[in-house]
């Protein structure tokens, strides 16, 4: 599998380098697996919407295809003292209506983004660290923070800049109608027809050069086979989220080009390592026992009992990468010292015996059945693997509308003991999963907000705290890697694999895969 991915990666690199400037005007139709529900860039922070508004609005700092930070509306940035970041803005940029972009638009964006009425998920978290905004001149802006805050560039790379002139008093409906959907991005909004299509047209005056495609139409086709059929029928040029079951067949089809790339999403088991008694763990006869997952040996035994290669090869049909930590190689803050745990059922049994569970115990593994690629089958496979080391594992899967509420649970914590979840790092660096999934719960700092297993390590917290106060990139990367090593050493959670995403295009096109799983017209290239 690694070989195949490498070959594909190489093919992609060639495709990208062969990309030629447009010989003639051309339109593009892209089918997505999900529907964008709004053109308002600040209403709902979710991938479905973010990938669409990515075309219309720019950020100060852009995230490249591997989420590397690149200059966007800001040409350069850096800390000028411990609590001040200074950004230099690009001059000569205009919004789609011709009005100039200045620092005042940034101020307006930061005022509006956390305060959109009725927003189910705002961008407040990316802005909260800023205590004061100082406009030095039209093209220089400073952000004050309460303490040293190294993640400012990462945070601001997801907040899309709107124009004060068009955005003052505008509601979400004004963005959907197009009246306020005026950004600086490579494409302009033509129309948004909920459930049917979103039509964009090239912004001829884009600061980074005119985009490749004249008109781009996005269509939501939620049914997997129907989406594939739409590509085969020639209705659409590009489809996102190719179902793994169809990949082998499509790879042999000369009329289809596949593009694959690893994502920033790790699929893992969260494991209840804190509570005295865990709700879904019992002795094999059904009687209540103390929570065995509090013992690191039991957690490690479970990790060793999981055959990650089998999950990748059998369940994911080769389209995934086995995982031993929170982000794939190459991301900021990833540790080079962490190996993917080897499959060792004998070692797992020995560890269980050492921990006082020679006969195992019974546990129910919970998982969603409509959220991640092949999620239900993964849970079933893991249950069988645990059975092989003597743990009675049963499976409970449910739609995500029920699952995530129960996984988070109420006052007594999660309703589950062992659960399959995924985490995509929007900031593209390791502090995102460390803070959310593994740090000790601390509502003031916003840490541990998704720590459903209750893992808590003073040592890890200390390394993370220091990292979050270290502006120096090299030093911070080391500290984050150190925090990863501590948490993975304690088996605070059990990573299984990184998702690999597949796009399919008609011949003559290719897609440059993005780690954030977004499907962008800018990443569709010609390849002949």
């Amino acid at each position: 599998m690694f070989e195949r991915l490498t070959i594909l990666a190489a093919a992609m690199a060639t495709a990208a380098s062969l990309a030629v400037p447009p010989a003639s005007a051309e339109d593009l139709t892209i089918a997505l697996a999900s529907e964008a529900t709004s053109i308002d860039p600040h209403f709902h922070n979710t991938g479905n919407n973010n990938q669409i508004v990515f075309h219309i609005f720019d950020t100060l700092i852009k995230q490249g295809s591997s989420q590397e930070l690149e200059p966007g509306l800001a040409t350069s940035w850096g800390p000028i003292d411990d609590t001040t970041w200074e950004f230099h803005l690009r001059e000569g940029v205009t919004f789609h209506d011709g009005s100039p972009f200045t620092a005042d638009d940034v101020v307006f964006t930061l005022e509006r983004a956390p305060n959109v009425p009725d927003s189910p998920s705002s961008f407040a978290g990316s802005i909260n660290s800023i205590t004061e905004v100082i406009v030095v001149d039209d093209y220089t802006i400073q952000f004050k923070t309460a303490a040293a805050y190294p993640l400012m560039p990462n945070d601001l790379s997801v907040v899309r800049i709107i124009s004060r002139e068009n955005g003052e008093g505008a509601t979400t409906a004004d963005y959907n109608s197009g009246a306020a959907a005026i950004g600086t991005g490579p494409y302009k909004l033509v129309e948004y027809v909920p459930g049917d299509r979103i039509v964009l047209t090239a912004n001829d005056d884009y600061w980074d050069g005119r985009p490749e495609w004249d008109n781009v139409t996005f269509r939501p086709i939620t049914s997997d086979p129907a989406r594939v059929a739409a590509l085969l029928a020639g209705d659409v040029d590009v489809i996102a989220s190719v179902p793994t079951a169809d990949i082998a067949q499509l790879a042999d089809n000369p009329d289809v080009v596949l593009s694959q790339g690893v994502s920033n999403r790790v699929i893992y088991l969260h494991i209840d390592s804190a509570r005295e008694v865990s709700p879904m763990v019992t002795a094999k006869d059904g009687s209540e026992i103390p929570n065995p997952f509090r013992d690191v040996r039991v957690r490690r035994a479970i990790s060793m009992a999981i055959d990650r290669n089998a999950i990748v090869e059998q369940v994911m049909e080769g389209v995934a990468i086995p995982a031993g930590q929170l982000l794939p190689d190459g991301f900021f803050g990833v540790s080079e010292n962490i190996e993917v745990p080897t499959y060792d059922p004998d070692g797992a049994r020995a560890l269980l015996e050492e921990a006082g569970y020679p006969d195992g115990f019974a546990v129910t593994i919970a998982g969603p059945n409509d959220r991640y690629i092949n999620d239900e089958q993964i849970v079933q496979a893991i249950a069988q693997m645990l059975a092989r080391v003597g743990i009675d594992a049963s499976v409970e899967t449910m739609p995500r509308s029920v699952y995530f509420g129960r996984a988070t649970g109420g006052e007594n914590g999660s309703e589950f003991s062992l659960m399959l979840v995924g985490w995509g790092s929007d900031t593209g660096e390791a502090s995102s999963p460390l803070r959310a999934l593994l740090a000790t719960k601390n509502p003031e700092l916003g840490w541990g907000s998704t720590n459903r297993g209750g893992y808590s390590s003073a040592e890890m917290d200390a390394a993370l705290t220091e990292a979050m106060q270290t502006v120096d990139d090299t030093r911070r990367a080391e500290l984050l890697a150190r925090a990863c090593e501590i948490a993975m050493g304690d088996v605070g959670l059990i990573p299984t694999h990184f998702q690999v995403n597949t796009w399919a295009t008609r011949p003559g096109l290719a897609y440059i895969p993005r780690t954030d799983e977004y499907t962008l017209a800018m990443n569709v290239v010609r390849s002949e």
Partner: protein, 325 residues
């Protein structure tokens, strides 16, 4: 008849009230939509803020009371994920579903009734038997599989028709609809056939059964004895009496086609209300779910009313005022 209609409408208000309460409490019991909608890396404070913004921090009875007071002003609530009025979103997508249902019903009627009549008049012939065998197929094929096969054959293999989507809409008398453009029809025809296959089979079987029932009746024999032409016997004496139960069933089926075209709309990416409701259920978008069911219940009530009135027109023996409906 006026009394009948008034009584019916009063009953429907009670039905609507009960429906809204059941759905409201039901969706509330499934879970908290914020857990699905919020970005996973949001902090606990943001989560609480989002819950408060959507009014989900209040007790369920209070939320329901707010819903009722807004309802009194004709406001069915705002969608959590679209941030637009739920009723507007539904009405925006209703035309797409209506035109699909309309064409599907036309296909069912104009293919089903003639074939059913034929099969009724020739129950033992090869043609009659073939029609009946075909209708069993139409009944038993799973809707989604049948839809995919239509796409594979007509869009992928033959390339005659598009694989999905709604296409361009034409304008006629100020109404925008796919029915008024060639591109619209090319997009409409496959999903309409997919939706119509089951209904057509139903109509065929129903018509045939009724023809078989009507043919031996005295008035048909008398009409023939009187020397009326076959054509007049079929069109007036047989057809009219055959149609009475068919109209009732078709009326109810029309409601079904509009409310439950979910599978067809999903496979053909048809932007109708079926697709809206299924997407909304996935993310527990309660205002849309509640508003949708209210609209659908209202629609069923109206359709039933019309069917009852039509029934009395077709069958003079029925007097609406006599019914305790």
């Amino acid at each position: 008849m006026t009394v009948f209609i008034i009584r019916r409408l009063m009953q429907s208000i009670a039905v609507l009230a009960v429906t809204s309460l059941l759905v409201f409490v039901g969706v509330y019991a499934i879970g908290n939509p914020v857990d699905i909608l919020i970005a996973p890396d949001a902090t606990e404070l943001e989560r609480q803020a989002a819950i408060a913004r959507l009014g989900l921090d209040r007790p369920v009875w209070e939320q329901y009371w707010v819903f009722l007071t807004n309802l009194a002003e004709g406001d069915l609530g705002r969608s959590f994920v679209f941030n637009e009025p739920a009723l507007k979103l539904i009405l925006q997508r209703l035309p797409a579903t209506l035109e699909l249902a309309f064409v599907a019903m036309l296909i069912a009627v104009f293919i089903g009734i003639p074939l059913g009549l034929w099969a009724g008049f020739h129950p033992n012939g090869v043609s009659g038997r073939s029609i009946m065998a075909g209708s069993i197929l139409g009944f038993s094929l799973p809707n989604f599989w049948q839809g995919l096969m239509l796409i594979m054959i007509f869009a992928v293999m033959l390339g005659w028709l598009p694989a999905g989507g709604r296409g361009d809409q034409g304008e006629f008398l100020g109404i925008r609809s796919s029915l008024f453009s060639l591109d619209g029809w090319s997009h409409l025809i496959l999903p309409a056939i997919n939706l119509a296959l089951f209904k057509t089979s139903l109509v065929i079987r129903l018509t045939r059964a009724n023809v078989r029932e009507v043919l031996p009746q005295d008035y048909v024999k008398f009409a023939r004895a009187k020397g009326l032409r076959q054509r007049r016997v079929v069109m007036v004496h047989v057809l009219k009496n055959t149609l009475i139960p068919v109209v009732t069933v078709l009326g109810l089926e029309l409601g079904n086609v509009i409310a439950f075209a979910v599978v067809t709309e999903t496979i053909f990416a048809w932007p109708g209300i079926g697709k809206l409701i299924i997407d909304s259920i996935f993310v527990l978008d309660r205002p849309i779910i509640v508003a949708y069911l209210m609209v659908i219940v209202m629609m069923f009530i109206i359709i039933n009313l019309i069917v009852d009135i039509l029934y009395s027109v077709l069958d003079p023996r029925v007097r609406l005022a006599d019914q305790r409906a």
